[in-house]
């Protein structure tokens, strides 16, 4: 058998010599680190070692050795300690209190003078005035005392700061070897991890410290630091100039493109008005029946019951008309999103270049706070419900584009190839194979789009779109909690109805089969 071999794998495994690799890693002072790392690697219990270089030079040592995390942590901690020391040494700690005391004293003097004057004129309020002057004088006295105490506290602060500084340095010295050893372990598997001692890194650390330490110390220790350190010393004219320039530019663009913008407005308005006429114009029982039947047929009994309850809530609390306006807004925005988004999505799926251009734009559209869209839209389209819809469309377009593109690119290549091998045209391929297979993804996109449209309802009403959003906004302005929450729930009801019906419809075929 293997009797000659080691009886136990772990116990008698021969030592591997880390020396050369540690030497390569550490560069300067290699023998020291070889012995330190050996010690740390063989210790079972927590061992403390002191690195004198780290103790002495602190963050600079870390910078030179490429331990940037260590550098930042302790630079900030030391800075904190130094700020305390600085304040103890030359910071005028009593300054704010003394200023207050002086103000009080001045006030008291003035009132006392008034009291004298009143007394000389023989007015009755003189006694009261004198009384308050005395009170103020006492307060000023107290403030002076406090200022004195604060100034006396400077020594304590100095001591605390020094103690902290020493403590941090000690900690640095004690942690250094262990942190460095960890860096070594990482370096072994990834040679890009910084290693060795580098003067350029040391210089970078020094430069960083040179920027950070004096400015921060000065800012926090001097009682009245120079203004330019607190705020960026740049005149307001740039801002107003740029703003005016943009204003003019927008006005000119709005004028130049008036035809285009009016056309868009008219088109959008026509769709919106039709949907509004149907939803808000038709007798409510018809709409209720339609929604109930649609929910039942498309998504099942439970959704129908939920729809009934939600509609009852909306109706009974008097939100009917506003809800219909909101639904019309969301509906037409969603229709536009789908009409624009699916073709664009198909295009993105087809053309790699189009997608490369579209992706950052889509990311941006979703990253941007919705607020920000509103401004160019106001500039070009004014206020009202059409701009509201346009903002909603911009905000809600990305999911449908993204998921259409995703769904189409995820259609198995083999299936597409098969269809091509049987002579399908591009259109047949798209309609018969790709779109049906991408339907689940596209529907997820449509669903997300609808929900995003609803979440924009309130923001759109900031620029004059009517409906439930306006209700919430008004409630917010007057802190009318009840009204706001009821309207918010009504929005939620609308969202859930649409969401459940759309989702239910597209889940069912899968469940059934």
């Amino acid at each position: 058998m293997t009797g000659a071999r080691a009886p136990q794998a772990t116990e008698a495994a021969p030592r591997i010599d880390l020396g050369p690799s540690i030497t390569e890693f550490a560069g300067r002072q290699a023998p020291f680190y070889v012995s330190r790392f050996r010690l740390l690697l063989s210790a079972r219990k927590r061992t403390w070692t002191l690195n004198r270089a780290a103790l002495l030079f602190g963050p600079l040592w870390a910078a030179a050795r490429g331990l940037w995390g260590f550098f930042w942590l302790f630079a900030i901690l030391e800075l904190f300690a130094l700020v305390q020391v600085g304040r103890g040494l030359w910071g005028d700690l009593g300054a704010p209190k003394r200023a207050e005391a002086e103000r009080l004293q001045a006030k008291s003097d003035q009132i006392a003078a008034d009291a004298e004057a009143a007394l000389s004129r023989g007015e009755s309020g003189a006694a009261a005035l004198r009384e308050s002057a005395a009170n103020l004088a006492r307060a000023a006295e107290n403030a002076f005392l406090e200022a004195g105490a604060a100034a006396a506290g400077a020594t304590t602060l100095l001591i605390v700061g020094l103690v902290l500084l020493v403590l941090f340095r000690l900690l640095e010295g004690l942690r250094a070897d262990r942190v460095y050893e960890r860096q070594y372990s990482r370096w072994r598997s990834d040679r890009r991890v910084p290693s060795g001692f580098s003067f350029s890194r040391l210089a970078a650390g020094l430069a960083l410290a040179a920027i950070m330490f004096p400015a921060t110390l000065y800012r926090f220790t001097v009682s009245q630091p120079a203004e330019w350190l607190r705020t960026v010393p740049i005149s307001r004219t740039y801002h107003t100039g740029a703003a005016n320039l943009l204003d003019r530019w927008f006005d000119r663009a709005a004028e130049a493109g008036a035809g285009v913008f009016d056309g868009i407005t008219a088109g959008t308005e026509a769709v919106l008005d039709t949907i509004e006429a149907v939803l808000a114009g038709a007798p409510w029982p018809v709409i209720v029946l339609f929604l109930l039947l649609a929910a039942w047929r498309l998504a099942g009994v439970r959704v129908a019951i939920f729809t009934g309850a939600a509609l009852a809530y909306i109706g009974l609390l008097g939100f009917w008309e506003k809800s219909m306006l909101t639904l019309a807004l969301v509906g037409s925005a969603a229709v536009f999103c789908v009409l624009i988004g699916i073709p664009v999505g198909i295009w993105c799926a087809r053309s790699r270049r189009a997608y490369a251009v579209a992706r950052p734009v889509l990311d941006l559209m979703q990253t941007m706070p919705a607020f920000v869209y509103l401004i160019p839209i106001i500039a070009f389209f004014g206020t009202g419900k059409v701009p509201g819809i346009l903002a909603t469309i911009i905000f809600s377009l990305p999911p449908v584009i993204r998921l259409t593109a995703l769904g189409l690119t995820q259609v198995p290549a083999s299936v597409v190839e098969a269809a091509r091998a049987f002579g399908a045209t591009r259109w047949q391929l798209l309609r018969g194979v790709e779109l049906p297979l991408a339907t689940p993804a596209i529907m997820t996109g449509v669903n997300q789009t609808i929900l995003m449209c609803l979440s924009m309802v309130v923001i759109a009403s900031l620029i004059g779109a009517k409906g439930l959003g306006q209700e919430v906004l008004i409630a917010l302005q007057y802190v009318a909690k009840g009204q706001g929450i009821l309207a918010g729930l009504a929005i939620l009801c609308c969202a859930m109805i649409l969401d459940r019906i759309v989702q239910g419809h597209f889940k069912r075929p899968d469940d059934g089969a």
């Binding site: 083999s414 299936v415 269809a419 091998a421 049987f422 002579g423």
Partner: protein, 350 residues
């Protein structure tokens, strides 16, 4: 019409952005594959492939993965465009076809079966089979008639209203086969159709395919990585390596006369009993007599026709201590197979 259905002449495929340059350089300087990759960053997929397939033939292309066989088969219906070369299908130059003509050819002349079935998951089996007809704009009634019929040809009666996912892998591939047959194409392209299946099912489908092709006599280009399969099915076999065809021949030729070590490695483990015939291993009568002496009496030897395979010769040989005399056309003695020769023959040597 002449008898050659598929004709390939010097077909090259080079992948990469600079394929054109690479092609020119290859033609001018005869670069090797690795040099092309190094100089142009382009990968040679198919290198100078030429062959003909006759009507009714099952032409197998055998090679390991990465040898370019699947790329090659996609050139026939131009799912992949060749970099250079001539491809003719039914006498027509495929490369000269316009987009619409190409689609018409794909829809009417070519049926294709894929390794991973590539059925449309959202359509019933019936609609999958009828898909090529649908593309051609046939009315639904006819689509249904044809799919019903083709499904019954592959033995899937009664499954037409199921969905592909409800079928086993073997059945799915039979649907794939039925789909390829539905448009009654002249040419069948089969891209490793059975390699994703269990061995037992694969065997079954091979048998079924052989029966079907005896019935329908479709010209077939059959891609496989399994030499056994190629030998079972193929009328002729082409062996590919690194985008080149190493050898083309009947199964017997391949087995008995491998062109190089690469092919020899493959055939080594193939049983020759059913593949090698008496005329290949026999010693001609004259040389036998010259070696053994005129006196050697062959009158007691059993006789076997020259197209009997080794399996039969073994059966004959067991019953007698004498060598077997092979008879040619008209019962004339043409050669002799001794026991030693028979054993060598089974082993693979000559």
């Amino acid at each position: 019409m002449n008898d050659i259905v598929i004709e390939l002449e010097g077909v090259w495929k080079i992948f990469g952005e600079r394929a054109g340059e690479a092609m020119a350089a290859v033609k001018a300087e005869g670069l090797a594959k690795s040099e092309v990759l190094e100089r142009f960053g382009a990968v040679v997929g198919i290198a100078d492939v030429s062959f003909n397939v006759r009507r009714g033939e099952i032409f197998c292309i055998m090679g390991l993965s990465g040898s370019g066989k699947s790329t090659l088969v996609r050139h026939l219906n131009r799912l992949i465009e060749p970099t250079a070369g001539v491809i003719k299908l039914l006498g027509q130059d495929v490369m000269s076809l316009a987009e619409s003509e190409l689609r018409a050819m794909r829809a009417q002349k070519i049926g294709m079966v894929f390794q991973h079935m590539a059925l449309l998951p959202h359509r019933s089996v019936r609609d999958n089979v009828a898909y090529p007809l649908e593309i051609r704009g046939e009315p639904k009634g006819r689509r249904w008639d044809v799919s019903q019929h083709t499904l019954s040809l592959v033995g899937l009666d009664g499954f037409e209203d199921r969905f592909p996912r409800e079928l086993s892998g073997g059945m799915q591939q039979r649907v794939g086969l039925a789909r390829a047959l539905a448009s009654d194409p002249d040419v069948l392209l089969m891209d490793e159709p059975f390699s994703a299946l269990d061995p037992l099912i694969r065997r079954q489908l091979q048998n079924q395919f052989m029966a079907l092709s005896e019935q329908l006599h479709k010209t077939t280009l059959f891609i496989t990585h399994d030499l056994d399969e190629a030998i079972r099915l193929g009328t002729r076999i082409a062996i590919m390596k690194d985008g080149r065809i190493v050898q083309i021949g009947t199964p017997e030729e391949i087995v008995t006369d491998p062109a190089d070590d690469y092919v020899r490695d493959f055939v080594q483990d193939i049983s020759k009993l059913k593949l090698v015939f008496a005329h290949t291993i026999m010693e001609p009568l004259e040389s036998y007599r010259a070696a053994a002496g005129e006196a050697k009496d062959l009158s007691e030897s059993p006789r076997a026709p020259e197209d009997s395979d080794l399996d039969r010769l073994v059966d004959v040989s067991i019953t007698t201590p004498h060598p077997i005399v092979i008879t040619g056309a008209g019962g004339r003695d043409v050669g002799v197979v001794t026991k030693d020769r028979l054993l060598r023959g089974i082993q693979g040597g000559k």
